[in-house]
């Protein structure tokens, strides 16, 4: 479904992604982990068409993607942003935000579609005419997910979709994303700094460091500790160390 080959992205003179290749099958989910500045979000933005300064090859379902994306591309590929406070227009109601893709793509039957979208992300119907500032962070992120699903895309690009949320809300949103994938056969490309989140949602994981994809491995290998690259091992160790505390009560260092 998603094919990226030898992708390089530069900002001015700095090359921030040095030739990354990855592939995601239809209905699959691929997670990119790495620290800030590792270039993981940049890959997502280049694929979505938000950043046209790239070289290499990117394909959607076998079709080559150019610098400029046409409207048809945006029907098939959508993105969910990290910060639910920043990704919703502050002066537009939920209704207006969900209407936008329908208007742009000329889809009819809008009322029914919006009502269905809200129920798909488990939001009550009465949030429909509220403004973002009247919603909680979790509700906003649900609206953002609903918006990305309005035009019924095949691919969802998820840029740290839960890192701005409280952990209890994070669990709800992760469950929602998993349900949606099962129900609609969506393909996910997820970016996160949280190893546990990525492993929870994705079967294949790519570890980024300094603009390079240093290791690609399955979630099971990551869980079992079958890692090859030291950076992967380091990230894994940090996560496992914190998880260990609660599992076996010992005096903390």
């Amino acid at each position: 479904m998603i094919d990226i080959e030898g992708l390089r992205v530069r900002f001015g003179v700095n090359e921030v992604v040095h030739g990354v290749s990855l592939a995601v099958l239809r209905g699959g989910s691929f997670g990119l982990v790495g620290e800030s500045g590792s270039g993981k979000s940049t890959i997502l933005r280049a694929y979505s068409g938000l950043n046209p300064e790239w070289t290499g090859a990117m394909r959607l379902n076998g079709a080559e993607l150019g610098r400029r994306r046409d409207r048809a591309f945006f029907r098939r590929v959508q993105m969910v942003f990290q910060d639910p406070y920043g990704s919703l227009h502050p002066r537009q109601t939920v209704d207006r935000a969900l209407n936008e893709p329908l208007i742009v793509h000329g889809l009819g039957d809008r009322d029914a579609r919006i009502a269905r979208a809200l129920s798909d992300v488990s939001l009550p119907g009465n949030v429909r005419f509220r403004y973002p500032h009247q919603l909680s962070g979790g509700q906003r992120q649900r609206v953002a997910i609903a918006r990305s699903l309005m035009a019924e895309p095949d691919v969802l690009l998820l840029d740290e979709p839960t890192s701005a949320l409280d952990v209890s809300v994070q669990a709800e949103v992760l469950n929602l994303l998993r349900d949606l994938q099962e129900r609609r056969g969506l393909t996910y490309l997820l970016v996160s700094h949280n190893l546990a989140v990525v492993a929870h949602l994705c079967s294949t994981i790519g570890v980024m460091q300094g603009g390079d994809l240093v290791e690609t491995l399955s979630a099971n290998d990551l869980r079992a500790g079958r890692v090859r690259h030291p950076h992967t091992a380091e990230l894994r160790a940090l996560t496992v160390e914190l998880e260990k505390d609660e599992a076996q009560p010992a005096t903390a260092g």
Binding site: G137, A199, L238, V240, L242
Partner: protein, 276 residues
Amino acid sequence: MLVAISNLRIAFSTPNGWAEAVRGVSLTLGREKLGIVGESGSGKSLTARSLLRLLPGNARVQADRLAFDGIDVLTASEKQMRAIRGKRAGLILQDPKYSLNPVITAGDQVAEAWRAHKGGSKRAARQAAADLLAQVRIRDPARVANAYPHELSGGMGQRVMIAMMLAPDPELLIADEPTSALDATVQAEILRLMEDLVSRRGMGLLLISHDLPLVGHFCDRVAVMYAGRVVEELRAGELAHARHPYTRGLLDCLPRLSHPEARLPVMQRDPAWLRA
């Protein structure tokens, strides 16, 4: 006892009357590391800030006792408070980008902080600043001292911030989400650094965070806040034996690398927690 808080209540005036954000919090802190954990809106930051009287103007603070080293913060004069703020108690905030002055070099800011409390010549201050930067384990203190905040990484900026706060030899360090803006590897380093400095200097540390496992790992005690109350207080090592359903929920709803689950348990909030 360095900090004694008893039945602290903080309310904000809104057009519809007073809205209580902190509803009867009691805590004590000696020369130890206490973590306050809670989700956004739980009142954890307000509790810590009320100690330094750093709340917005429309806040109303009431408490049976709110004391820093025996000084009653509620009735202390502004002069007394200035002597506490920054000097006896340092505050470290989430993002060093916003807490450091962008047009002054890191070294000068640390030196200035040192001079403001200790006096002395500029030369001595600069020497002290270099010392402090070395203490926060900056490998190349000379380079960092001459750098402007925007030239520093997030972790480096946070170290500079800590160095500034250490300048007056405070007795208490309040850290409000000090590592949430940092990468996991840097986060661990900064916390280890703070832990080390606090135990070596015999200071008290109040660590405020939303990350329960992290706080449990670095603190001696953890107070879990929910909707303006402390619902459970426990020793860090006993996290696994947490009794309150909210604390349990906070731990259970985390995805785990070591134990895969198809669905994450979702927290069912019990209205009784608000009264408990």
